[in-house]
Point group: C2
């Protein structure tokens, strides 16, 4: 733990458990990647995947960052799950339940020899099981791909769970409903592309998402 | 549109429509806020709300940023909705449908006289209708609150919708299922706090979330 990953507020919400961090990353589909350009901050959403103890990043946006990434660029990467809305009896005490990881490090390009592996990790992260259902990348496609990697060495995890503060003697109006509204993301009915014949069964990877 | 909000890749995915931006912000609950600390990027998740043409930010984390914010701090704020997984017939062409806004500006503290209004906007953003159901903040609570504001002047919006590329003559194996798996966030059954009596009906604000 470094100075910048030490939680200065509510340290009880931190977690040092690598399994907690890995699950948090593995369940996420989007990372928000911050870097400095001409002295100013820039934050962009990117596709992500975890490959052991490195985070892989892939984005169609952020061409500037990807170019800078050829020689390594300092980044901060935040991955956040919003798990619920916390409703208290006072406006001030409203909150959210969340799991959040913030990573610091230098992003560098995945070497050419590892690009196919990296694309596989990213594809399997997005839709587990999909890689073996589809065509593998050609050398030209691999050449057109840049994946960045950031080691999972300097990071902090912060988690809030549970309800609002709830003390019978807190002086609040207890006739007011208080509690948590849990949130989660669901997949809706898949929409086949025009050239997908109606007789084509849903692949195993898609069925696993539903 | 400034140099840094001009999309350098896939400009057809951009949008200049303020109504599109406002809806995108109004539907989001978390913003990822990037700033520069000691020359290095930091990204933190924060609660957010839109108040006309300014974005309000409120976070229990990022004490350092909030202190720096007393005199204004340069930020980049990203707000992203993941709307679907795009499954192609090649690994390379997999993608995501999303709506994303990236804002640049200087975050400054909301003046003391506007803090109650700002907390109202943030509370109503989190749970519409909740403000009038709960106790208003005390002067002490307001003094303990710092809300930052960023004007919605320099930003870019990027949106991807629709399925994967789908050309009958693209040479891909059309017996493979391709299409989109839409995603959305849902609220689960509310969990009342221990001191909420079972006879307390769900308030209107909570019912509207379900």
């Amino acid at each position: 733990m470094s100075d910048r990953t030490r939680l200065t507020r509510e340290p009880e919400r931190g977690s040092d458990d690598p399994a907690v961090l890995h699950r948090l990353l593995d369940e996420a589909r989007i990372a928000h990647v911050g870097f400095v350009r001409d002295g100013s901050p820039v934050v962009l959403p990117m596709a992500m995947g975890r490959d052991g103890d490195r985070l892989l990043l892939h984005g169609s946006t952020g061409a500037g960052m990807f170019l800078a990434g050829r020689t390594g660029i300092e980044v901060s990467v935040a991955v956040t799950h919003l798990d619920g809305l916390v409703l208290a009896r006072s406006a001030f005490d409203h909150s959210m339940n969340y799991r959040s990881a913030v990573l610091f490090g230098v992003a560098t390009p995945v070497p050419p020899g590892e690009k196919e592996h990296a694309l596989r990790v990213l594809t399997e992260h997005l839709v587990p099981g999909r890689w073996d259902e589809v065509r593998s990348p050609t050398p030209k496609e691999l050449a057109a791909t840049m994946v960045l990697e950031v080691p999972l060495t300097e990071m902090s995890v912060k988690i809030r769970v549970g309800g609002p503060g709830d003390d019978p003697y807190d002086g609040e109006d207890h006739s007011v409903w208080a509690g948590v509204v849990p949130l989660h993301t669901v997949a809706d009915d898949p929409i086949p592309s025009p050239t997908t014949r109606s007789s084509t069964p849903l692949p195993r990877s898609v069925r696993a998402l539903l």
